[in-house]
Subunit: 306 residues, 2 copies
């Protein structure tokens, strides 16, 4: 039995179980102060400590994942008030002496989808979420991706769409991918949230959004060459976006990559997540299982293990 | 004792040895027809077959690295005349029954630099070469990067520099990174090869080139988060380019990534390769050693192993 904790910037979701068919005692609470929210999380773990084999935490970030670091298991430089430099794991260790798997929310989601969802038949995948921000995580050669830090895929530079005059909304980079293509950028560009766009405006919005997201998909393909790309998050529900993005990706790769899995079957290469509402907490349970059953090999200084 | 084979698009380099301090019988020959060039390579291997423990091949590509594929070990869709769909490994197997490590030239270079060069103290790195083309490979969590295919990092989309009106020279994508920043793009943009630029033109060329390469460095950082970036290739010898690129990268990340290893010590994060003229063949020897001493675990379908 595992406890999975989806530590989100808006809410925490805790659950007990071993996978999608066995998920019990799901608890949700808002992300308030660390004291209150981690206190409730600790109480949840304490309540289920009997027979517990492992804990998994899939957290908003940035987080410190470097084995041996003095701040391993911390949420670090987050802009979220009160949460900067917060030790997430120690409160849990105080009530349960079991292995703890800790990673980013998106790496957790990638692991969950690889274990039970959209990437069970392949061994490498990247999970991207497009919502109020853009994030990505992934599994490559059986390992979650991190090194000095962890992926922050939303901030990659992109080429500007020629029809787009929006200046970009990322406070750090202006017109990086997140600044041009996350939900708030769409809402600012059109004066309307993505889900309310209709008619010609919807068509033009999909066109621009698909351009930017297909650039990201191409970039990930060129750099990582994963077997599957999973695109989730609220923005991906916009009518026609996923299909337009898929065909734009094939155009963009322009047969440079002679990989029939992409060029002839893009619908199986770029897919939606399948774990649904419980994807986050299932990712956390997958992290728990990984920590309990397949602990990481010893790592060298600076080594990207997980 | 290993044989390393650097299979380049212009020349092949073969050598016997175990590392940088032990490199013998280095042989170079031009990349002509597969029959002639692979024939000479096979003869080199046959000559050194006694006591051989492994062979490593670091090849130009694209190559098929998928374990279990019918065309594993082939150079596949290369534009190089005569080399499309060429079986590189069978001729070698005919003369030596030893483990063979096979990967891209840039993954080989990354492995060599990690073993003996610019990344010995860290566990993850990306190696980028900027010359007649732009390519990249890398090692993450002890594994060379590949999945469906292998990285083709040179073709990532980039945001156009506002002072750059050059249309781009990539036959597939026009103004992708390689189309804007490889040696031929520089030569076409300025009417002068990179190494002959001087004065104000040199300053402006470095400015544009550093912009594009810092975008690539940022993209790799955001997606992979490796512990070190190694930039090699002829273009990187242009006066002032590496330093300008480093400071542009720090500006670009704009303190979004709170990673002192990058923001406070970029000179140790973005570095030159150190293996010099024999980097390619040493990478191949590292691949041989890896194949002989640390064979890959069994792989699942589509799984990114190496």
């Amino acid at each position: 039995m595992y406890v999975g904790i989806e530590a989100g910037g808006t809410k925490f979701v805790c659950a007990v179980g071993t996978g999608p068919g066995d998920l019990r005692d799901v608890a949700n609470f808002p992300t308030n102060t660390p004291e209150e929210t981690l206190g409730r999380t600790r109480a949840f773990v304490a309540e289920h400590a009997a027979g517990l084999r492992g804990i998994g935490v899939a957290s908003f970030g940035p987080v410190d994942l470097r084995p041996g670091s003095a701040t391993y298991g911390y949420i670090t430089s987050t802009p979220k008030p009160g949460w900067r430099d917060t030790d997430v794991l120690t409160p849990l260790r105080e009530v349960a002496d079991v292995p703890i798997g800790f990673d980013t929310d998106v790496n957790g989601a990638a692991l969950g989808e690889a274990r039970w969802g959209a990437a069970v038949d392949v061994g490498s995948c990247v999970y991207v979420t497009v919502g109020t921000g853009i994030g990505g995580g992934g599994l490559l050669g059986g390992q979650l991706i991190h090194g000095l830090l962890h992926p922050e895929m939303g901030h990659v530079p992109v080429a500007r769409n020629p029809d787009d005059t929006f200046v970009g909304s990322c406070p750090f980079h202006g017109d990086c991918l997140e600044g041009l293509a996350a939900g708030p950028a769409i809402a600012e560009r059109w004066g309307t949230p993505a889900q309310d766009l209709v008619g010609d405006e919807l068509r033009r919005a999909v066109d621009i959004e698909a351009d930017y997201l297909s650039q990201m998909a191409a970039t990930i393909t060129y750099i990582l060459s994963p077997a599957r790309l999973i695109f989730g998050g609220g923005v991906m529900h916009v009518d026609g976006l996923l299909d337009t993005m898929r065909s734009r990706l094939v155009d963009r790769l322009n047969a440079y990559l002679d990989v029939p899995e992409i060029t002839e079957d893009v619908d199986s290469y770029v897919v939606r997540p399948v774990l649904g509402d419980h994807a986050g907490v299932l990712g956390a349970i997958a992290l728990a299982d990984r920590a309990a059953t397949a602990p990481d090999p010893p790592s060298r200084p600076g080594f990207a293990q997980n």
